[in-house]
Structure formats: structure tokens, C-alpha cells
Amino acid sequence: MMGFSVRKDASGVVVIGVAGQLIVANRHELKEKVAEAVSFGSRKILIDFTDTGYIDSSGLGALVSLAKKLRESGGELRLAGLNEDLRTLFELTKLDTLFTITASPEEAIQGF
């Protein structure tokens, strides 16, 4: 099943966890979660894929759009917790060169 969790780290980074899949059917929900965080003033957003099974091209496109929008407003989007399968997707599409990707959420948070 798909779902998103949202928490704010002590350092102010908003961590959005993706459970299940990030695909065409739920990418709008991720966009809404990020927009909500931004509306509350957050500019450091981490998407945690630790519990994510797979992502489709719509999900990748949503991440690209979100990263661009955040960057344009002075913020940053990072990704963490990608398993080997998901890393393959980013490498195949060359999106691993576009994002800051860390193995763990903790590393991403420390690096902001």
C-alpha cells in the first residue's frame, strides 16, 4: 500500500517518507506534502525512500519538478534510503547526477 509520512527533524529539515510506491497515481500527493511544508516556511526537504518498493517515471518527474521549484525559492531537496533497485532507476535516467542522494536520512540531514 502507498502512503506518506511527514516529520520535522530537530534541525528543521522536513523528512517525507514514502511507503510503498511513488507512481503516477500518488505523485500529486507527494507534491502536496512538499507544498504544505514550504507553506509553513520549510526550505530543506528530505524524501526518505527507505520503505519504498518502486518508483515510475511519473514519480521521477515529480521529484525533478519539486527539486527545481525548491531550488528556485532558495531551498533544497535531497533523497535518501534508495535501495539498489531504485538507485538503478536514477542511474539509468541519469538523474543520479541531478540530486544529492545519501544512503541514510541521517547523512542527508547532517549535510544540509
Partner: protein, 156 residues
């Protein structure tokens, strides 16, 4: 979270003329709704895993490729028209798993399927679906009309 749609699975045996034998097939008829994709992918992947598709091919390659094909069929083929359906057929043979996705749309230009490339602009929001399908499965083909895709994954 959406509740399961309880998809109906039809089972049959199809004749493989080239092999002079039959092969088991499952078929699903899906509404043109994006919310059906997750469950349909689960049903097909679990069936293929039960029939011996293993590891990364089952948990990742098949799932993503099928997800892409279904999204294309629903969004671009049937344009989310509630009066149209998407048919999925999964045929299992000794060497491979064949997954067909057929929409009721007027079709897409097959020439543009031949060598899908990544968008020139890395920051483009779309344009990666067909490219991914070709990268993830062993063989892809389309019918002349352009409303059916056939994806083949070998067992190993």
C-alpha cells in the same frame, strides 16, 4: 490510502503455434483509472513470482515496466475515458514471461517507439517512460496500430 479494487483474473490456455503447444495465461480487464495500477501490478507480479520469475526481475523490473505501460495505456491510450478498458495478458512459457497491455485508444505512432531516448533536458518532468520500459525488460514490441505493447522478460 485507496482500498483494494478486487480485480478479476481470468485464466486460460493459449496456443503457441511456433511451439505447437499451449501455455497458461492470465488476463485482467482494467478500468481506465490510475488508482488501479498498484493492485494490477501486484496481481501480475505475484502471479509471475509464483510461476518462477525471481529476484530483481520480479520485484523491480517487471513492476516498473508494467506500471509504465499501464499508465501510458490509461493516460494516453484511453485518456482516462471511463467507457474504455485496458486489457492485460500474461503468458508463461519455459523461457519467458510475456506481458501484453492493450488499450482502446486510436494508437500512437509506432516509429516513435523504436529508440526512445531520455529527454535532452535532464530537468524535464516527463519523457522517460518508454525509455525505462526498454531498459528494464528483455524485449519490447508494439502492434501496428500502436495501442498494444508486448513486453518479454526471460526467466534468468
Amino acid at each position: 490510502m485507496t482500498s483494494p479494487m478486487r480485480l478479476s483474473v481470468q485464466r486460460s490456455d493459449v496456443l503457441l503455434p511456433e511451439a505447437a503447444c499451449t501455455a497458461p495465461r492470465i488476463s485482467l480487464r482494467l478500468p481506465s483509472e490510475l488508482r488501479v495500477i498498484e493492485e494490477a501490478v501486484d496481481v501480475v507480479a505475484q502471479h509471475c513470482e509464483a510461476e518462477g520469475l525471481c529476484g530483481r526481475r520480479a520485484r523491480f523490473q517487471l513492476r516498473v515496466a508494467l506500471c509504465e505501460a499501464l499508465a501510458n495505456a490509461i493516460l494516453y491510450g484511453n485518456r482516462e475515458d471511463a467507457s474504455k478498458h485496458v486489457d492485460v495478458h500474461v503468458t508463461v512459457t519455459d523461457p519467458a514471461f510475456t506481458v501484453e497491455v492493450i488499450d482502446e485508444g486510436s494508437g500512437y505512432n509506432p516509429v516513435s517507439f523504436e529508440a526512445p531516448a531520455l529527454p535532452d533536458d535532464l530537468e524535464a518532468a516527463g519523457g522517460r517512460g518508454l525509455f525505462l520500459i526498454r531498459q528494464l525488460v528483455d524485449h519490447v514490441s508494439f502492434n501496428d496500430r500502436g495501442n498494444a505493447i508486448c513486453m518479454v522478460l526471460r526467466r534468468a
